[in-house]
Every structure is written in structure tokens, then in C-alpha cells.
Amino acid sequence: MLLIECPWCGFREESEFRCGGEAHIVRPLDSESLSDAEWADYLFMRTNPKGRHRERWVHEHGCRRWFNVERDTVTHEILAVYRMGEHPPAEPATGGRRR
């Protein structure tokens, strides 16, 4: 069981959260002009890296807020937690961000 730090509620057990997939995917503003391939790329294609990955999580059974988590997909180590609208940390972090 992972302990995940909600930016609002602090550390809670994993079962209170749900992962919402890759973070920082921007919806195309001019979707009408996209080709099917471009639209499919936005909708379905994900980076799926082995290692550091930025994801959206929601504190579903707590405050119900969405936020971002930077997680190592191999070790499950959580490298950073930051709120919606905040920028991801540029350098590899050593642990969870403090409020």
C-alpha cells in the first residue's frame, strides 16, 4: 500500500485515491481542424514511460480534489506532489513536497 500525500489533506493510504492517467495533456483548442490521426493522438496515445511519470490523481474518498503526482513507474516511489495549475518540479526531487 502506498502512502500518498494529498496537497490538501496530507498523507493518506492509497485506497482513498484514484489515478487519472498522464498529466499535462492539453486539449487542442482548435479541435475542428485536427485530422483523425491528430485527434486520436490527443485522445489515446500516452507516453507510458518506464521510470519517472507525471500523473493526475484524485483524492476520491477524502477532499475529492485532483492534483498531480510524479511517480517512478518501476519502484512506485512518489517523487513529487503538486497542485493543479502548479508547475512540475524541474529537477529530480528527493521526496514528497511539503505544503
Partner: protein
């Protein structure tokens, strides 16, 4: 709209009144239901001056900013649920009036007031062994160094969605559960409290 006299507690069918002890507080834990609370979910811009002042004017309490805390004034409480979301607890008889006053005060603002009273019930657990009972089904750290009177948190109790609010130092906890989970949560608490000589107190 259901008339007030037709409303029934979520646990009415358990016949708890007949089982309630006359002498309160002699067991390690005491459990009772607090049915028919007025429960209003309030949403709005917690950092906004207009929102804060209008809410304060109606309730006499500021919307709490500090996560996981609650404030109380006389018979009204306000609990933090999120950075733009609160639960306002009122006596049943004042529920509709306070809802209307909040709505009127917040006209034109990006805000919402929703009455959720009928969808939930409140179980009140108190006594010296409360923390041991809750620890059996809840991963929150409710130890006094982390929690205390005036703190609240949404989490799960025995897998049931629950809002846990410590009201007094005694300690006494109010546990809000969805109405459809009321019997499950009650029976789970009764079972968990058995080894601590749980007593049932009359409903509020």
C-alpha cells in the same frame, strides 16, 4: 417535499430506543444516532472577500480556511471539506431558513448551496476507548498529537465513506455516513465496540 412529521431516522427500524441504556457513559464507548441534522454543502471562493463576508453575515462564522478543521458558533458548525467546499450543520428546524438565507446572500456569486440532510445520517461515538474502536476500521491518525476537538476529515470507516469530526475533548466523534450505509456503519461500530463494553445512548 416530505413533511417533517413523516421523516424517519435512517435507523428507525433497529428499535434502538428500547436498547438504549438509562445511565450514559459507563461503558468504554457510547454510540448514538443524531438523526435529522440540517446538512448543507456550501461551495464558493474561499479566498474571495465577498463570499467570506456574506457567509459570515449569515452564519456568524467565517468559512474555515485551514484544511481539516471545523468552527462552531452556538448551534451552527462549519466543516472544511475542500478549498472551496464546506459542510454547514444546523438544527433541523433552522435548515430551510439558513439554506434560503445563504442562497439569497450569494446571488450573483460563483457559489452553490445544496441541502444533503436527507442523504446522510450522523453517528456519535464517545468514551475513553473511542480511538481504539475507530482504529479498527479507519486509517486516519486520530491520536491527539494529530487530531483533536475542532478537527474533521473525510476518509473511510470499514470501507464506508465517512466524514469524521471530533467535537469535544471527551473525546466525542461525529461520524457522517451516507443514509444507505447507516445500518451497516451502525452494526459495524456495535460489533467493533463490543470488546469495550459499548453502550447505546438514546438518539438526540
Amino acid at each position: 417535499m416530505t413533511e417533517r412529521y413523516q421523516r424517519r431516522s435512517a435507523l428507525a427500524h433497529l428499535g434502538l430506543e428500547a436498547r438504549a441504556s438509562v445511565v450514559a457513559g459507563e461503558g468504554g464507548v457510547t454510540l448514538r444516532e443524531a438523526p435529522m441534522r440540517g446538512l448543507l454543502v456550501l461551495r464558493g471562493d474561499g479566498g474571495g472577500k465577498a463570499f467570506r463576508s456574506e457567509v459570515t453575515a449569515v452564519l456568524g462564522i467565517e468559512p474555515v480556511v485551514e484544511p481539516l478543521t471545523a468552527a462552531r458558533r452556538r448551534d451552527l458548525s462549519i466543516l472544511w471539506l475542500g478549498p472551496d467546499e464546506w459542510l454547514v450543520i444546523t438544527p433541523d428546524r433552522r435548515r430551510a431558513r439558513i439554506e434560503r438565507m445563504l442562497r439569497d446572500a450569494l446571488v450573483g456569486q460563483h457559489a452553490a448551496v445544496t441541502d444533503v440532510s436527507h442523504g446522510r445520517t450522523v453517528l456519535v461515538l464517545s468514551g475513553p476507548d473511542v480511538l481504539a474502536v475507530l482504529a479498527k476500521g479507519c486509517s486516519l491518525d486520530l491520536h491527539p498529537r494529530m487530531f483533536g476537538p475542532g478537527r474533521c476529515a473525510q476518509s473511510r470507516l470499514a470501507k464506508c465513506q465517512a466524514l469524521i469530526h471530533q467535537t469535544t475533548d471527551a473525546p466525542e466523534f461525529e461520524i457522517h455516513v451516507p443514509r444507505s450505509f447507516a445500518q451497516y456503519a451502525w452494526m459495524w461500530l456495535e460489533d467493533a465496540g463490543q470488546e469495550f463494553d459499548l453502550r447505546i445512548a438514546p438518539a438526540e
